[in-house]
Subunit: 443 residues, 2 copies
């Protein structure tokens, strides 16, 4: 299967309304992106699918949604204020600031300014958290941070969730929400953003069962990607080396995808965070964050397994992997073979032409379908071009209204992937489409 040329792909994303540059009319802002009319539907479908698989379908996970700005003590406890930083160097001549690791070392083992060749200062650590001030005074006491991960919102609510839901170990807390990292070198489209959205789940287990649960979650999460149709040959699992493990992690495994512009790179991490976070928050907040184990009569601090991913990168993965260019009867077609549950538009309503006899029944079919599925109506240009337009945005089914419809009250359903067509009475259209799209989805 083809992987897209990145330029073609980014252009499709803009042209069809998946992703726009943030504040584009002002020249944009590096590392910030907007989701257009189709992008927001795909993003919402990804989130709903994840929430359904992580929260609704499971008997052991609940969701929460915490604030982006939190009490800054949270980040002291988590270690982010001390360690969430990259090394930076300033040019002594032109005063520009660089990420030290990004500057090539010359044959004398020295780094010089890539802009002017000037001498650089030694590396200083630059914290990647965006900071702001809460309340009317801008001083050290009012500094707060935009969260760099949603995870801490779940750790500090461990006790609240435990008490209000009366859970027993093992149980998980899931969250979807925006995070912010002041990356020095954002790039590769929406691959590395400064503002991004995460889907994270903290799964609390009895110490000693953590390694087994870690393995189970790695398998579960890998299967989620496969279930969404991502091709096995483009995925791999990679163990973090001892050197790259985060300060809180005992073992971390990445699910990686083979990106056309970057090769294999992380799309989801599954970490064994041990009891690090709960213990740190207990220490900094001056309280106990424990679980009473009825079986042994002991208080324990649970271990945590965390599957975590960025939605923007997930979005990119799913779009790239579903992208195909094919030849059909001598003509090129571009098709997004998106999983039905992810497709932004489920059904396109297409009168054979913009004919005064065909448009009114086509509009009636649109009205019939809209309460049940995300639909799009299109009557501009030839039917062939409109099929191509729908293929290009991944719409699973096209419903065509033609002159026969005026006689038999039936329409033609066209399948995006097989391009096969079948005739269905309008009276059966909703249940037939529902069955085709996915009979297992909930009301």
């Amino acid at each position: 299967m083809t992987q897209p040329n990145m330029e073609t792909f980014v252009s499709l994303c803009k042209r069809r309304g998946f992703v726009f540059q943030s504040s584009e009319i002002y020249g944009g802002l590096g590392g910030f992106w907007d989701y257009g009319p189709l992008g927001v539907e795909l993003k919402n479908n990804i989130k709903r699918n994840w929430w359904r698989s992580m929260v609704q379908l499971r008997d052991d996970v609940v969701g929460i949604e915490t604030s982006i700005i939190m009490n800054p003590r949270v980040w002291e406890a988590s270690g982010h204020i001390a360690t969430f930083a990259d090394p930076m160097s300033d040019c002594k001549d032109c005063k520009r600031r660089w990420r030290t690791d990004d500057i090539a070392i010359n044959d004398k083992g020295e780094r010089h300014c890539p802009e002017c060749g000037g001498e650089l200062t030694g590396a200083r650590m630059f914290n990647l958290m965006f900071k702001t001030f809460v309340g009317p005074v801008e001083d050290e006491a009012s500094v707060v941070y935009l969260r760099p991960e949603t995870a801490q919102g779940m750790f500090v609510n461990f006790e609240n969730v435990l008490t209000t839901t009366r859970r027993k170990l093992p149980f998980g807390i899931a969250q979807i929400g925006r995070s912010f990292r002041n990356e020095i070198t954002p790039g590769n489209f929406i691959f590395r953003d400064r503002e991004f959205e995460q889907m994270e789940m903290e799964y609390f287990v009895m110490p000693g069962t953590d390694e087994e649960w870690h393995d189970r979650w790695i398998e579960d999460r890998f299967n989620w990607w496969l279930a969404l149709g991502v091709r096995n040959q483009n995925l791999r699992i990679r163990e973090h080396t001892k050197e790259e493990l985060s300060h809180y992690s005992k073992r971390t495994v990445d699910i990686e995808y083979d990106f056309p512009f970057a090769g294999f790179a992380e799309i989801e991490g599954i970490a064994n965070r041990t009891d690090f976070d709960l213990k740190k928050h207990a220490e900094f907040a001056g309280r106990t964050l424990q679980y009473f184990d009825e079986a042994t009569g002991q208080q324990v601090v649970p271990y945590v397994i965390e599957p975590a991913m960025g939605i923007d990168r997930c979005f990119l993965t799913l779009l790239i992997d579903s992208y195909a260019e094919e030849e059909v009867r001598g003509e090129k077609r571009t098709v997004l073979r998106l999983h039905h549950d992810l497709a932004p538009i489920k059904v396109a309503v297409l009168p054979l032409s913009r004919n005064e006899q065909l448009v009114p029944p086509a509009r009636r079919v649109w009205d019939l379908l809209r309460p049940h599925f995300m639909t799009q109506y299109d009557d501009a240009q030839s039917i062939g071009r409109r099929y191509r337009r729908q293929d290009e945005i991944g719409t699973p089914y096209g419903v065509t209204i033609d002159f026969e419809t005026l006689e038999d009250d039936a329409v033609t359903i066209r399948d995006r992937d097989s391009m096969e067509q079948s005739r269905v009475p309008i009276a059966n259209l909703v249940p037939v489409l529902r069955e085709k799209l996915d009979p297992s989805l909930p009301a």
Copy 2:
């Protein structure tokens, strides 16, 4: 109907996992709140319902999702840097800072510090936008803001949406997302937050049709609140006076709710923003933001009607309005009569008791229902107490598994509102519940 005592209500919100104080274990942070396991489900249901009514069911509105941090020129153009400010005064003695309007005027017509009685400085304007720095250098050139409204993200994407969706006037752009305002006096629980979430829609119309569309949207939006079950006697519509109109507005109407702690207060605003925003962005970005009207062959700058609300306040309204305390056979019950589509949990699965014969079939019923509805399983304490617990969180239906179930493979469905019970074969349970919950909801 009863409106709740605020203290009782806030306590219920915490105790049952609707709303927690942000970073509570660190003493919280003023104006920031977290949504617990039930809160996040209710909030997601509100968002889905609004999106469905605003985007999916309409043929003239599309959604987008823009970044929280935008190019700062956006806020110059919109007027927020110049005018989005409150007057502040400092105490010359104790150095504390106050919102000038919040300080009582004494009989000499003067304001003194509420803390120490000291003399105050004259009022200076304090901008309510949170600011931060993007990139490695903290200076004036790197200042960016957290958006105080989602609206501008839609205005700056007007052209992108117009081009990619080939829309004709009138059409709308809808968005759901977090916004931030550094309020000097946040308060009344989640009524006025510093971090909050908005649902806004910008509806672009031909100039001259704006007043008619404004009236239609006021009616449409009022009906949305009624359709969700909010009682008419607690709602009213209020015209903004000339003095309180925003700088961009020709006319604004608020939908207000009669809050127990505050009396009538805004829950949604419907504003006629005229062509103010598009013209300002065209001016500041040095381009034309127009629409070509085929009928007249003219370029026009559309007018904008904007229905906008904060989800947190909507959440509070829906919870308060659905809250009831009743006497049932001599016992008090608290019930949330939430609209079915909003209830966090749709069905509770309740074995008559934690009996070894009843628990396995009850678990099987739970497994059967989970793919279709958000469900909760509960076997702790008496069945009466468990019904009360579910009433208190607004669960529309309880499914009870009893000893008869072992004979007849049927269960009892109990209705939250009427408390009536009916017997249903397990084989029919999913379609019966689906029909009861809402036959019109989409797959």
